[in-house]
């Protein structure tokens, strides 16, 4: 009966709200975002300083990342005319990757994307970009008509389908983009916290000494989930980037 007596799950505010320091509104998540931005900038600037024909070291890594975004993301989804978005998409991918990896780096151990504000801002930037691309390529009238009314639609279904597609264009796409990243990161964080709390309860708040070795089980699970979260961090950065590319491609080629 006393096995889990010390186990109380803290309210969600204690897991995602951090104390403000230095400035009002400046907390651990903001600090993490700034550090991630500085890391990405420093890596790219120091890799681009020497423009060696045969890349070595850091330049090799950065060129591999750019090649991955160009060949693996843009050419597969938009095509050659989307290569103008290579700088934005590369920035997005590397920044998200570094931000998400802060989930498992000791002493930070909090993904800044687990607060809704940052994914929402990134999704709004994506929303502005793909709408601007559509308007620029087709003009506002043809863009709205082409992206809300699929060709060959029966007249009777027109209002319903146009309403759903319009809703998708305006709200559903950016909202689902932001929620996907936010919820994945928050779920991973909660999972890590849960098993860490289980370990703590079994090891330190357990009045039955006989059961203390059982703490190995949640600890092993926590280590396994940490490895899994590396996969999730890379995958979510990739998915956010490729969905941005897909939306830009859809706005660019609405006629097919």
């Amino acid at each position: 009966m006393h096995l889990f007596a010390g186990l109380t799950f803290p309210p969600i505010g204690e897991l995602v709200d951090w104390k403000h320091f230095l400035l009002p509104g400046f907390n651990k998540a903001s600090l993490t975002i700034i550090i991630a931005g500085v890391i990405v900038l420093a890596v790219f600037i120091s890799a681009g300083r020497k423009k060696a024909l045969v890349p070595v070291g850091l330049q090799n890594v950065v060129e591999a990342a750019i090649d991955f975004v160009a060949d693996g993301i843009i050419m597969e989804t938009v095509g050659p005319d989307g290569l103008g978005f290579l700088p934005y998409l590369t920035t997005l991918f590397t920044f998200l990757l570094v931000c998400n990896l802060f989930e498992i780096i000791p002493f930070f151990q909090f993904p800044p994307m687990a607060r809704m504000a940052l994914p929402l801002v990134l999704a709004v930037i994506t929303w502005v970009i793909y709408n601007a691309v559509g308007v620029k390529h087709h003009g506002p009238g043809k863009y709205i008509k082409g992206s809300t009314i699929p060709p060959g639609l029966p007249k009777a279904l027109l209002p319903l389908v146009a309403f759903i597609e319009g809703l998708q264009l305006v709200i559903v796409k950016p909202f689902s983009l932001a929620v996907r990243l936010f919820a994945n990161m928050l779920a991973g964080h909660l999972l890590l916290v849960t098993f860490a709390l289980l370990t703590d309860a079994l090891l330190f708040h357990n009045s039955l000494v006989f059961f203390k070795p059982l703490a190995v089980l949640p600890l092993a699970m926590d280590i396994g989930i940490t490895a899994f979260e590396v996969l999730v961090a890379v995958l979510q950065a990739f998915i956010f980037t490729i969905l941005t590319a897909v939306y830009i491609g859809q706005a660019m080629h609405i006629d097919h």
Binding site: M1, R180, A183, I239
Partner: protein, 91 residues
């Protein structure tokens, strides 16, 4: 030994009932929201593996499309998770 269950001096008012019911609703809601995406992701990945096994040379395209399909399917389960968090912790 069973002193955990012996909390007798708790008064149960409408607030406690509301809290309990929202916890029950949150649990059932997330469980229900996970059914469809679970089946959907299974179908997506299964068919992608079939495609990769039939044509190993186009495995790259199939893998990219598979991740896209997973991302679209998974969105519903994640919205269910967000609703769970909102119901469980904000009421």
């Amino acid at each position: 030994m069973i002193n955990l269950l012996a909390a007798t001096d708790v008064t149960i008012g409408s607030k406690e009932v509301l809290k309990g019911l929202s916890a029950v609703g949150a649990g059932i809601g997330y469980g229900a929201a996970a059914i469809g995406p679970g089946i959907g992701i299974g179908i997506v990945v299964g068919n992608a593996i079939t495609a990769m096994a039939r044509q190993p040379e186009s495995a790259g395209v199939a893998r990219t499309t598979m991740f896209l399909g997973i991302a679209f399917t998974e969105a519903l389960a994640l919205i269910g998770f967000v609703v769970f968090i909102l119901l469980k912790f904000s009421s």
